[in-house]
């Protein structure tokens, strides 16, 4: 093992191990209480490498869920950059569920602290908590963290593998390692001799892995340039395998019908279903029923023919009662006060005060691929195939559900037909495991209908924001916000770990308390509503709520101050954090913002900071004979370091369209305890003719790398609301906007 400390702030070590015919390299954490995962103790099989080299060639592991954000491509490029292999010439696999693949950045981001001002101390604490996260096995893809997590570790793994292979070559050729070069998976000697990595792998396995400096960005061949996505051809030819596409010999097709009230089942009568042609089995799941058949559609038809009586919902049955419950959270003390600059209790003398209440609804994820998983149970083993964002949790919960040890469970992660946070949950895999347990030795694929998917989501929490602001001499002098919602992080942690998170809940106020605005008196308090409505992480999580709440109110403040809304924000951003100001300036220049629009055209600006990334958007709407269409959008974001421009651009536009879909049409409501929206006609989204023409600018002004998967979503909602205000003079203080405006559908 090479000495520590060669790379500043490094918290991981490189390990290597011999494998049959080759060598494996991995990066694992210094503070890990477990030993080197590449060198397991007797009887353990815990080989979780990132690089594997043998006679077959080079295999890279990207153990993050590929849900369209290009993580496999960029993660592989990080390794390939240092390893000197061509991404086209290597195999890229997801790898097994393994705690060695845990995500430090995700846990680090759960800490209090604004983020953009993170001190070294905070980074230290984040790493400590990162260890905690690993102990709990959080191999989770989410929080726009993959690039933050992989940026150093994967390059270091690649660099170490390269130097160790060179050392093996140096010993074989009797030359100095420094005299050798590497390219295209080969070591090259000054005399022109070449040795393929595969031929050096066995010898390299006998050496201690060599640690080395990482190459500076100026020498990058792959990073910083757009790479062809490794999954692109498969996804263009219908050959990429999603969870729903898994086909195994003798496989049966099943579907489930669970309580639409998220509660219990009183009784059911399946007599109509059992005799239907193709139906093989009806399974009582306690809180619902499953039908196993020879065809998914037949299973779904049979489920519809079952007569079920459901128990009551564990939450108030009507939407307005649920909102009353959320509002009552304001009556108890705040759960958090994460920002408290100046004195927000008083309105400064002579200032103009304004107050407003904002509301946002529950939202479904509505991934394009409905929830599904495939399971094979043999009595002593369980195999699960699914597109998922959390394979380690999936394995553990499925093991519990069928009464096996976690070591007896293998999770095979496929491509995800959309994740957006939904596939970080384990429910769909657990249901498949439970169905499979009733069908020993028979693989069963359990696919949910769209209706089942929409009625059984873990929703983006609804929220209420109450704001008091004051402006004076054209400036903001006070912003005091109270935000009440269910805590999705408490629920998710409870489901993942069996113990809910406690203490101040950052997510409820995320995107509000850490808005990079200088306002002399600025306070944000969070209030938690105790409700059993299932809630979870939805693309951009807290900021998906608070972007709309806070930034819409900021727009109101700008108008109250008699200022141009973009300029008003710019002034506050400049005094707090330059990269935020640069995003606003860029979007102003790109859109040719003048603050004035012709009749029949409206423009709005939105700005948010989320997951480390500041994003400003300008949205333009047009009135076409009374119907309003979103015409254009401009996006400026700052990622610090851009690893792949094409992917970042796609994520920014996709994230914005996801937010606009919610802002225009998205709302989950309850009646008689049941979710009222069943399918896309009740829960529509932006489509080809309603999507704006969009331009994206990607800046690299800030000092650290951050993610792109989520930050495009939050600013789209206020930007659209602000544009509609500009067009019509009507300020919508709740979503979706089609309740207030005649939007094109």
């Amino acid at each position: 093992m090479a000495s520590l400390g060669k790379i500043a702030r490094r918290t991981f070590l490189i390990g290597s191990a011999a494998i049959v015919g080759g060598v494996a390299f991995g990066a694992y954490y210094v503070t890990r209480p477990a030993p080197n995962p590449l060198k397991p103790a007797e009887g353990e099989a815990a080989l979780n490498p990132f690089v594997l080299i043998d006679q077959q060639g080079v295999t890279l592991f990207a153990p993050r869920a590929e849900m369209g954000q290009g993580v496999r491509t960029t993660w592989a490029a990080l390794i390939a950059e240092e390893l000197d292999v061509d991404p086209d010439a290597v195999r890229i696999l997801h790898g097994p569920a393994a705690t060695a693949y845990y995500n430090t950045a995700l846990v680090g981001d759960a800490l209090p602290g604004k983020g953009y001002d993170k001190s070294d101390f905070m980074h230290g604490v984040a790493e400590t908590l990162g260890v905690f996260g690993k102990v709990m096995g959080m191999q989770v893809t989410g929080g726009s963290t993959s690039m933050i997590d992989g940026f150093e570790r994967m390059r270091a793994a690649g660099a170490s593998a390269r130097e160790t292979l060179k050392e093996a070559a140096a010993q074989r050729l009797g030359v100095d390692r420094q005299s050798l070069r590497t390219a295209n998976g080969k070591v090259m000697a000054p005399d022109g001799a070449e040795i393929a990595y595969g031929d050096l792998a066995v010898a390299a396995a006998a050496l201690d892995p060599i640690e080395t400096e990482l190459r500076p960005a100026t020498e990058w061949r792959l990073l910083g340039k757009s790479q062809p996505r490794v999954d692109m051809v498969g996804k263009t030819t219908g050959t990429a395998e999603f969870g729903i596409d898994v086909r195994l010999d003798g496989m049966k097709f099943a579907s489930v019908r669970m309580s639409p009230r998220h509660g219990g089942m009183i009784r059911f009568d399946a007599s109509q279903a059992t005799g239907m042609p193709g139906v093989e089995k009806v399974i009582d799941l306690g809180t619902g029923v499953a039908v196993v058949a020879n065809n998914t559609w037949i299973a779904m038809q049979a489920l519809d023919a079952i007569d079920v009586e459901w128990d009551e919902a564990p939450y108030p049955p009507e939407t307005d009662q649920i909102f009353a419950e959320i509002a009552s959270a304001f009556d108890s003390g705040p759960n958090s006060t994460m920002r408290d600059d100046g004195d927000a209790t008083k309105t400064p003398e002579g200032a103009t005060e304004l107050r407003a209440e904002y509301r946002v609804p529950y939202l479904a994820h509505a991934t394009m691929e409905p929830m599904n998983a495939t399971a094979l149970y043999s009595g002593t083993r369980l195999d699960i195939w699914s597109g998922n964002q959390a394979p380690v949790f999936t394995a553990r919960h499925c093991a519990d559900a069928v009464g096996l040890e976690v070591e007896a469970v293998d999770v095979h992660t496929t491509y995800l037909g959309g994740g957006f946070g939904r596939r970080g949950e384990v429910d769909f895999a657990v249901l498949a495991a439970r169905v499979a347990r009733e069908m020993p030795d028979t693989p069963v694929q359990v696919t949910w209908s769209r209706e089942e998917d929409m009625q059984h989501d873990f929703y983006r929490p609804a929220a209420i924001g109450r704001f008091r602001g004051a402006v004076q001499d054209g400036k903001a002098v006070l912003l005091d916000g109270d935000i009440a919602a269910q805590s999705c992080s408490q629920q998710v942690m409870g489901r993942w770990l069996g113990a809910p998170a406690v203490g101040p809940d950052k997510i409820t106020v995320d995107g509000a308390f850490n808005a990079p605005y200088a306002i002399p008196n600025f306070r944000i308090r969070g209030y938690l509503a105790e409700l059993a409505v299932p809630v979870g992480f939805w693309r951009s999580v807290g900021p998906s709520v608070n972007g709309f709440l806070l930034d819409s109110f900021v727009d109101e403040m700008a108008h109250a101050a008699g200022r141009d809304p973009l300029d008003f924000r710019l002034q506050m951003a400049r005094a707090e954090w330059e990269p935020a100001a640069a995003c606003l300036e860029t979007v102003r220049d790109m859109s040719g913002w003048t603050g004035k629009t012709p009749d029949g055209v409206g423009r709005g600006v939105g700005f948010t900071y989320s997951f480390g990334t500041p994003v400003a958007q300008v949205i333009e709407v047009v009135d076409e004979d009374g119907t309003i269409r979103i015409n254009k959008a401009w996006i400026a974001c700052d990622l610090g370091i851009v690893l792949d421009r094409s992917i970042v651009e796609a994520q920014m536009i996709g994230g914005m369209n996801y937010g606009l879909s919610a802002a225009c049409y998205g709302e989950i409501t309850f009646s008689d305890g049941e979710v009222e929206q069943l399918n896309f006609p009740d829960y529509d989204a932006i489509r080809m003719h309603t999507a704006p023409v969009t331009e994206v600018a990607i800046l690299e002004n800030k000092a650290y790398i951050s993610g792109a998967g989520e930050p495009g979503t939050p600013p789209s909602m206020p930007a659209l609301g602000n544009a509609l205000f500009d067009l019509t003079g009507t300020r919508a203080r709740d979503l979706p906007l089609n309740k207030h405006f005649d939007l094109l559908i």
């Binding site: 030819t237 996801y658 989204a685 932006i686």
Partner: protein, 154 residues
């Protein structure tokens, strides 16, 4: 209840009830999983295939009503021999999660067969039934224009 189907030029004998939608025949019986299930109610277009060249929602066509030869995404091109439209899709790096893309491509292929050089308005018209939750619309539009250009050349 045996039904004879021609799919991607191959003949298949299917033993399933008449009312089973073509989508589920393709996916669960024939094993052609490129055609996707998204909604089951003609609201998303993920299941789009061609019957005698016409783009249809396979979730809405019962087995007994399949009136002609079926082409699925697998029949359009393969990874080693992609159709021109698929090449345009790769060139523009359209797919994100990719789940909707089989349907998008089949819908766009039918559009181009009828309207070789579509305007943006014609693209809007033809493609608005195909949902993409990842929001890849700008690249889909660009890929359709590129494919139109390439098809004219060849």
């Amino acid at each position: 209840m045996s039904t004879q189907l021609t799919i991607n030029g191959k003949s298949h004998q299917v033993d399933l009830p008449d009312e089973v939608p073509l989508l589920w025949v393709l996916r669960d019986e024939i094993g052609l999983t490129g055609t996707k299930f998204g909604c089951g109610v003609a609201a998303c277009g993920a299941c789009t295939v061609h019957i005698d060249g016409e783009a249809v929602r396979s979730c809405q066509v019962p087995l007994s009503d399949v009136w002609g030869d079926v082409t699925t995404i697998e029949g359009l091109g393969t990874p080693d021999a992609m159709a021109v439209i698929q090449e345009a899709w790769v060139e523009h790096q359209v797919a994100q999660c990719g789940y909707c893309q089989s349907g998008q491509i089949m819908q766009a292929a039918a559009l181009l067969a009828e309207t070789p050089n579509p305007t943006d308005a014609e693209i809007d018209d033809a493609m608005q039934g195909n949902l993409c939750r990842c929001g890849t619309y700008p690249r889909i539009r660009a890929a359709i224009h590129t494919a139109a250009g390439k098809m004219k050349e060849s």
